[in-house]
Amino acid sequence: MIAAGRLAPICLAALTLAVDQRATATAPASARFADVTAAAGIHFVQRSGASPDKRMVETFGSGVAWIDYDNDGFPDLYFVNGAPGSSNALYHNNRDGTFTDVTAKAGVAAAAGGDRTFKTGAAVGDYDNDGYLDLFLTALGPSVLYRNNHDGTFTDVTEKAGVAGAAARWSTSAGFFDYDRDGRLDLFVASYVDYRFDSNPYCGLKKDGYRMYCDPKIFDGTADRLYHNDGGGTFTDVSQRAGIANPAGKGLGVTFCDVDRDGWTDIYVANDTVRNFLYRNKHDGTFEDVTYAAGVGFDSNGKPRAGMGVDCADLDGNGLPDLFVTNFSEELNALFMNRGDGTFDDKASMPGLRSAYPALGFGTKLFDADNDGDLDIYVTNGHVIDNVALYQPNLSYAQKDLLYENTGAGVFRDVTAQSGPALQALRVGRGLAVADFDNDGKLDVVITSVDRPAVLLRNQGGAGNNWLAIQAKGRRSNAFGLGARVTVETSEGSQVREINNVASYLSANDVRLHLGLGRAAAAKRIEIVWPGGARQVLDNVKANQMLVIEEEVR
């Protein structure tokens, strides 16, 4: 992919098609994943609480998070379970490819909450800037904030923090970011539909076995929430004042990035069956909904899609973050390429991405799966209607994941078939998160699946390519540098990335930034622009190392 990639944008249109078709036909994939779940000692099985009543929340699964809770440099794993009373699970990374379940000791089972609390997602961030990552959990029901006690245990501080939300609210994806650049991480919580157990409509044919989960169109949307971190362990709900409390929203996914490169983090929300929201940060604690101006709300025919998972990163190497959203079966996943003038082009129908048409996408991540210097796309799929085959025999509940390799300049080809047996398995994919759990320089993937075992997929590809990982340590900025912009220049070109662990669906990725460098043995220059605005430059940094960059305070 590096051979075809990084091509100068001469005759790009013609070249794009040629590269894509040739690549699809012949080139082997260089990313390859193996299912190492059993060997790693992970036994987590998601429990949806599925019932004959087809309560909608049952089919939306739950998320997964990478969180190095003990700061040993090896990301640990946190699984969110679904059904009321079920236990979440924290697995400690033993640094030898295996994990140990430490849920009970850590005190993060989150099994309480009553028989109507369905847990959904997880977010990771150091909200109190003590250098240890904390954990926020969403639910159809009250959310939970766990503070890291630095000793392998956590304390539920939800009440003091004031972030539980309404008792009947269906919160989904969430994430920490510093929208006002005050050095403290704020919290955004996406909210899905106004669903009530006591008015659960019957949907589908009135025949045995034909009842189905309802279409979200029949439910009202609910407003997302933004909590400002006031310091001292408390937050204030500023959703209305900040301008992000649109009651039309049916948010399932959220990601953050600085789409206009003005140094302030913006918000993009994937909504189900209504338009997505792009909120531009106005630098004064408020946001403007620029979705219509940017053209990132609908498909190319002006119709809203079923947005599920989402990520934001530079896919075509122009230095500007692009937006990717997974959608429903018989819709294409959205790929909005940033033009740099506040508007985007939807490249969903790019030939190399069309294989997603029958799939129903959920968790997703844009990452460099083969370390060749550009970002690839991983999507986990699974239908929401468990009996969908009764209605549409061409569709199935369990589906394969999809891996798209970036062949250069944001042109993709489907390499799922060539990427190992693990990607040929069927699952009802929901949560997905990425980290280099064994610190071998290759990003690995964890996926949750409705009522099925979670899977850990170890990356065994990318042979010969170099890499760099960066752990940012903020001093004036937030402690893990979330929101920092990093530009890396090598002999093969430059890459612009943001440190951001908030992407996918209900899930949180590693807070460390991972960059593939292709054949370059070193980075000639690394520039980091901290969320507080300070710039820092490192020259001639050798490849294949974990770099810790501490924010300089002058």
């Binding site: 044919l205 009202d220 409390a245 069956t273 002006g302 119709k303 809203p304």
Partner: protein
């Protein structure tokens, strides 16, 4: 679920009077930045007139223009409301959720935008969510008590919630507030019909048509009431008028097929059902879809029964009970079909289910069935 042009015009006027004036200064300021382009309020006025008049083929252009306005001013409640109305006017199920979302955002931005609540209530009724329609209308009535359009739609909402008495009362209140409201009168007719006051309902529907309420729904309601009253010629004429206004709705075509069948015009009944089949998808997911499919198969079964095509009749009627296992008439006519096929044991099973569901066989058929079942038993077991 009726939407008269007059109602829309009033609504358009309300949108403009309540909304645009309030935002005019901001919109005017934006206009100064783009000389030569009409001010947003002027554009909204033009689009409102267009959208509320039914779009006349310009809906896509109107939607594009509204998106442009929202790109310039994302907080224009009027633009969000009009976009919701325009989406609904498109008639695509894919846009219903978005239409509701735009209307809800409009109300969130400007809670005084009563027309948005009225239209949102209409949309909730489209979605089969009468309780939510009631909530919106009650909220609107607290700001505009005795407003006739709100009262009229609340009447229809209560009727759909199974309260025809309340519906009739509210429709009369709406008429007191605005005696010329054809919408309120139509809903009065529907309430009377649900109250089993069919002949009064017919008179009211006729008045609605005479007053200019020439909407497909009114023709459907009147035609169905005529059919119920056995006034077949009038039923066929009225339903035909309704179908001419909108050929895309299956329900009046099914009623027309029934009228033709009852009048003995079986070829025409067949043609009407053939048209319905082009309108109905293979998969029924929503309850409304299921009801339409059930009614289609029932009418098809009854037509085949009349044509003495008993195998085809049985096939269609089996689909009726498959689609709706709690629908008594399906079992009742299936029992009759089996009797005519000489399948008495099967007929007996179906007749038992039909009776349990309140749709027993007529006495003569019951007697025939009992006689045949008795005769088929071995001697000594009688």
């Amino acid at each position: 679920m009726v939407h008269f042009v007059t109602v829309m015009r009033v609504f358009a006027a309300l949108v403009l009077s309540l909304g645009v004036a309030a935002t005019a200064p901001r919109l005017a300021a934006r206009q100064q930045a783009e000389p030569g382009k009409p001010a947003a309020d002027q554009r909204l006025t033009r689009i409102a007139a267009d959208v509320f008049a039914g779009g006349h083929g310009r809906l896509d252009a109107d939607i594009a223009e509204l998106k442009t306005i929202l790109a310039e001013n994302p907080r224009s409640a009027q633009a969000h409301a009009l976009l919701g109305v325009a989406y609904r006017a498109k008639g695509s199920p894919d846009l219903l959720g978005e239409a509701a979302g735009e209307l809800r955002q409009a109300i969130d931005l400007d809670p005084s935008l009563i027309p948005a609540r009225l239209y949102l209530a209409h949309l909730y009724l489209d979605l089969g969510r009468a309780e939510r329609a009631r909530e919106e209308l009650q909220a609107a009535l607290t700001r505009m008590p005795a407003q006739s359009q709100l009262l009229a739609l609340l009447a229809e909402t209560e009727r759909q919630l199974g309260k025809p008495d309340t519906a009739l009362d509210l429709a009369l209140q709406a008429l007191k507030s605005d005696p010329a409201s054809v919408e309120a009168r139509y809903y009065q007719g529907l309430a009377l019909y649900d109250l089993k006051r069919r002949d009064e309902a017919i008179q009211v529907f006729e008045q609605v048509l005479q007053a200019g309420g020439r909407r497909p729904e009114v023709y459907d309601s009147l035609g169905t009431a005529y059919l119920d009253a056995g006034r077949l010629d009038e039923a066929i004429a009225t339903l035909t008028d309704g179908v001419k206004l909108d050929v895309s709705r299956p329900e009046p075509m099914i009623a027309l097929a029934r009228a033709y069948r009852l009048q003995g015009q079986l070829t025409r009944a067949d043609a009407a059902l053939a048209h319905v089949r082009t309108l109905v998808g293979a998969t029924a997911v929503s309850q409304a879809d299921q009801r339409v499919q059930r009614d289609l198969y029932l009418e098809d079964g009854l037509l085949r029964l009349k044509q003495a095509r008993l195998d085809a009749a049985a096939r269609s009627l089996r689909k009726v009970v498959d689609l709706d296992p709690n629908y008594g008439p399906g079992y009742r006519y299936l029992a009759e079909t089996y009797i005519r096929q000489g399948l008495y044991a099967r007929a007996g099973d179906q007749a038992t289910r039909a009776e349990k569901l309140g749709a027993p066989l007529p006495e003569d058929l019951q007697k025939t069935l009992q006689d045949k079942l008795r005769a088929s038993r071995p001697k000594g077991q009688e």
